[in-house]
Symmetry: C2
Subunit: 334 residues, 2 copies
């Protein structure tokens, strides 16, 4: 089955194939009559232009590489949906890669994506070291990180204000009367989340406590496993509230609490971070800090496209505001 090329349709239309190219690209320099005749022929014989060949000469693939730790995480998939939609509006397509929370795999797919000649890369870094490891490619291809500001090197990123997020969360817990609050999750990759929590603790003279996650990624399962370890190590918990670093962690924690008979919020209050759709489920009703998904997605895409169009423009940062979502997982103490 031979491929139809502009040469074929040039032959049919009795013009040079340069003219066909012009007609299809919409550039001026073709009479309206010729153009519409050519377009009609293309339509009829079902010609589709070859993006690859076009890309070879234009040096632009209209392709964006998207690297996420794990697309099955609702935070990622929600972002991915919005990213794909918004990128599509600008004529970009998405090449999706999971780094499966491995720095090595992250490097691999990054290099692969470069070989694929994507115009730019949007990356949800898997860890704090991702930035450093990827630094050497940053002048070779436009990249924007979707993550908090880690390190001080020169890179574009968009992020929610994680520090502010946990600050308002901890303030909320404090206002409810909580004085013993545990931070539950990863501190390395969400450094600023921990620091926001810590800052408010200090502000009120509370002792900050944390339970560090041994995992490189957040999921219900990991949250559950962590929680079970925590319970095993402590026969009774001295906290009145737990601030989980992500909703996924919180959901796993919730599951573990249910199993060992800890009631939420009667026995202990719980606050999450992200506001994934499942946090609003009945009986779950997790209070949490919301990330502005759609805004983050559009900001990330347009920042990347800006960088693609103007590589010389340096780099930019965009920090979006989080929002407290009060449901019913936190109790007022008296």
């Amino acid at each position: 089955m031979k491929n139809i090329t502009i040469k074929d349709i040039a032959k049919i239309a009795n013009v040079s194939y340069a003219t066909v190219s012009r007609a299809l690209s919409g550039v001026p320099g073709v009479s309206d009559e010729t153009r519409s005749r050519i377009l009609k022929i293309c339509e009829e014989i079902g010609y589709t232009p070859d993006y690859m060949a076009r890309s070879m000469v234009t040096k632009s693939t209209k392709l964006i590489g998207l690297i996420v730790p794990d697309i099955s995480n609702p935070f990622m998939s929600e972002m991915a949906f919005n990213i794909e939609q918004f990128a599509g509006e600008s004529g970009y397509h998405i090449m999706l890669c999971n780094s499966v929370s491995s720095l090595e795999q992250e490097q691999n797919v990054f290099k692969l994506l470069m070989g694929r000649k994507v115009d730019g890369i949007l990356i949800f870094p898997t860890g704090a070291q991702s930035h450093k490891l990827l630094e050497k490619y940053l002048d070779k291809i436009p990249v924007v990180f979707v993550s908090e500001n880690l390190g001080s090197f020169h890179a574009s990123y968009v992020t929610v204000d994680n520090f502010q997020g946990t600050s308002i969360g901890t303030e909320y817990l404090y206002s409810l009367g909580h004085r013993n609050i545990l931070y539950f999750g990863r501190r390395a990759s969400h450094k600023l989340r921990y620091e926001g929590y810590e800052a408010i603790c200090k502000k009120y003279g509370l002792e900050p406590h944390f339970y560090e996650s041994p995992y490189h990624t957040d999921s219900i399962k990991h949250g559950y496993d962590m929680a079970m370890d925590l319970f095993k190590a402590n026969s009774s918990l001295p906290y009145t509230a737990i601030f989980a670093s992500t909703d996924s962690n919180a959901l796993g924690l919730l599951k573990a609490c249910e199993e060992v008979g800890i009631r939420i919020p009667e026995d202990i209050s719980m606050l999450g971070f992200d506001n994934i759709p499942y946090s609003g489920l009945p009986k779950i009703m997790l209070s949490t800090i919301e990330q502005p998904y759609k805004l983050m997605a559009t900001a990330a895409v347009s920042m990347l496209i800006d960088k693609i169009d103007n590589p010389e423009f340096g780099y930019s940062h965009k920090i979006l505001s989080p929002k407290l979502v009060v449901r019913s997982s936190c109790q007022k103490l008296d």
Copy 2:
């Protein structure tokens, strides 16, 4: 910033660029000495081959197009993760497109993907008519549908046995003593799910009832809206159990029930379909029919790659077995 090409490294190595190509492609016909010298140079100056240029001549992009209605749906994102991983093992990359449950958009992205010269397309059809609309492309590019068998045309697909799924679900409900069961969701795109339910109803002389979804996609929100409409139209429901067509629908229904004060499973039993991770959350504990995610993903990918490698081999079907997952959303009647 000039691109490094094989010509550059040919110059450095003092060989023709054909030799470089041979060395890199691993084809025989280059002395070991020359090859290792070339490879070392590539390594040193950080050369990465241009997949596009390569694809132009080999006519193979090692790219798979993945079309899903909505990647933010957990069923889709779970599948997408496994698909990406498994495809990656065979050297394929994924181009992700959301059809946003629109037949028109589905057609658009399909054509776009063809223009991108992907080697094959994996599609989660958005509706019953998808197959018919896409039929005309099926001899132009390898396609495998991830969906139940709709219509009788010639196309490859992998699916869970939807009929069997709702059959065992309905049998389960019947065995619990339920005699008035409502089927809740879309019947058009999950025709066989409805029919499995219907068949078991008939088998036991029960009257099948359904509440048809006006939506083209399943989500918590749609399930919730549907449920609210249902409740508004009926002051008291004559059913003892509801079989939701998907877990997402069930979760929305659950939310609505909570709001109007219907207790699950005390007042009414509820069964879902898919077994997304959130169905196992504490207090939710939705009993459901499980789809074998990983198996479906690997089956779909290997079926597609088979078709890519042997386009002349016709088409194939693979129907996987569902499994009942009993949690606590269904009550035994006495």
